[in-house]
């Protein structure tokens, strides 16, 4: 007798993902999709795709989707959620989109206590545009716009979004997770699920920061990229829950 022990989530469409080999966006997509399916909310979820590598995530998540201008996902999500308060509304954003051009929208959506879920994928680089320095790029990390490595003197320090969001009184759930090994992928899924469950329970703004790799623009093999993430990114961006419940 055979039984199915693993299959593609109903939360994903049949489209081939547009991500580079070894990029952990695929894993994170799977986690979000599985959570939406397991919570039984696919039929009334509205996702907001951002600008960057995940710009075409509207083809991949098997629910209604809106594509937002660069950085504006949390504003678009606000507009959707305010007129569809009973639907599940989430954004899926990278570090350039959320932490740089869209930081204002993110902070203020949290500060208004918008009852939405923010999936923040931090890979410390602008991937889609070819590997430029991001606000989350590590000190010493070489990118196409910091070819000698990021320095405090020239570029400033990597920005810590979870720590920043945790200072906002109505950001009710803030956690940073990683995808560098299966154990942490499992933890990431639990965190994503909690962030969506919070919204269903009307608890307000939840954000999960997920450390992710960019093998192509980091100039590494996928395996080395996971190792680099564990050894370098996790040190700069410590994992853990920064807020659970209102301040």
């Amino acid at each position: 007798m055979s039984s199915i022990v693993y299959q593609k989530s109903k939360g994903l469409t049949d489209r081939s993902l547009s991500y580079c080999p070894g990029c952990t966006h695929g894993i994170i997509h799977k986690l979000v999709a599985e959570v939406l399916d397991e919570l039984g909310v696919l039929d009334h979820s509205i996702g907001i795709a951002s600008v960057g590598c995940s710009v075409m995530s509207y083809f991949f998540f098997n629910c209604d989707m809106q594509q937002a201008a660069h950085g504006r996902a949390c504003a678009v999500a606000t507009g959707v959620k305010r007129v569809r308060p009973n639907d599940v509304v989430f954004t899926y954003q990278g570090d350039g989109d959320l932490a740089s051009i869209g930081l204002n929208e993110t902070i203020h959506a949290a500060n208004r206590g918008e009852n939405i879920t923010v999936i923040f994928v931090n890979n410390a680089i602008y991937g889609m545009t070819g590997g430029q320095m991001a606000p989350t790029t590590l000190l010493g990390q070489k990118t196409t716009t910091s070819p000698m490595g990021r320095t405090l003197a020239l570029h400033g320090a990597p920005i810590h979004i979870s720590e920043l969001m945790a200072t906002i009184s109505l950001a009710t759930y803030v956690e940073r997770v990683s995808t560098h090994n299966p154990q942490h992928v499992k933890k990431a899924k639990a965190s994503i699920k909690k962030a969506f469950q919070n919204q269903i329970d009307g608890k307000g703004f939840s954000i999960v920061e997920i450390l992710s790799t960019c093998p192509v623009n980091w100039g590494m093999t996928p395996v080395n990229a996971l190792k680099w993430m564990e050894e370098n990114m996790v040190k700069v961006f410590p994992l853990g829950c920064f807020r659970d419940g209102p301040l």
Binding site: T13, Y58, A75, G79, V83
Partner: protein
Amino acid sequence: MSKVLKKGNEAIAIAAVMGGCEAFFGYPITPQNEIPEFLSHYMNEKGLVFVQAESEIAAINMVYGASGAGARAMTSSSSPGIALKQEGISYIAGAELPCVIVNVMRGGPGLGGIQPSQADYNQITRGGGNGDYNVISYAPENLQETVDIVRESFDIADEYRNPVMIAVDGLIGQMMESVTFDHEIPHRGPFPKEYATRGRQQTNHIITSLDLDPKKLEEHNQKLHEKYQLICEKEQRYELIGMDKAEVVIVAYGTMARICRSTIQILQKEGVHVGLIRPITLWPYPIKAFEAIPTSATCLVCCELSMGQMIDDVKIANEGRLPIHFFGRSGGMIPDPEDIATFIREVKR
């Protein structure tokens, strides 16, 4: 019909609610603040949506989200704020979403001033945003016309799935005038909005302006272009005043047109026949109005509260037939009817 005395901006807010506005997103900027101030309490009382956004940019993107989810959404602002919204307006046009934008115009460039102006003509009709798109734009002359167009605008936006902008100068926004709200206005529809992200049915709803395939993007642009051509055919609005035997034809809109009405009376008493083409839509530009210019006309006078922006469209519509003179004031300076009469006397000479 009962007449009431209302401040322009407040009347605009009431008209928006009557037009079916379900969600308003805005940011404070003079001289339009009475619109969000009124709606902040009204929308909350009625269980509708009002959000004071963190920025003009956030406000227009909230409109995008709410409209994509099927609501009648609106924002209001003034010139520099509209400049900030242009990216979002381009996305809304590209994604073919309806929305209503009220622009209570002030002087520029830059921070400019807060006095009435028509210096937004280019950013309204040429779009400050990227790409081949147009915004259906109205420039009413007085408060009653403003109220009627605002009431009608949500239907028009829904019909074409396109942003509609109502551009009034600060004078109309700030002045109190008598106005009625209880008369019928034309209705269009119904509009079922099957594209809206209200939860998936047979297929997922996707709202986007992105297409990385050049062939598909060109097809999308051609589809938009056909829509814009249809709008140009069907939606040109204008008023013709005193065109019979006119020796001089003024082209002016909004408050400037209103001033020119008095100029026409002044010159009439001197035996000079002056006509007026008053565009009500800025886009589509009412080119049809220029077919009514009588053979008696010897020149056109384009009058604007700017240094000359609509004049480009007047030249296009005129097709080189008559000489065109320009009278403009800017920075919030409002001319006297006599100033324009003096100008016309001189150009006639």
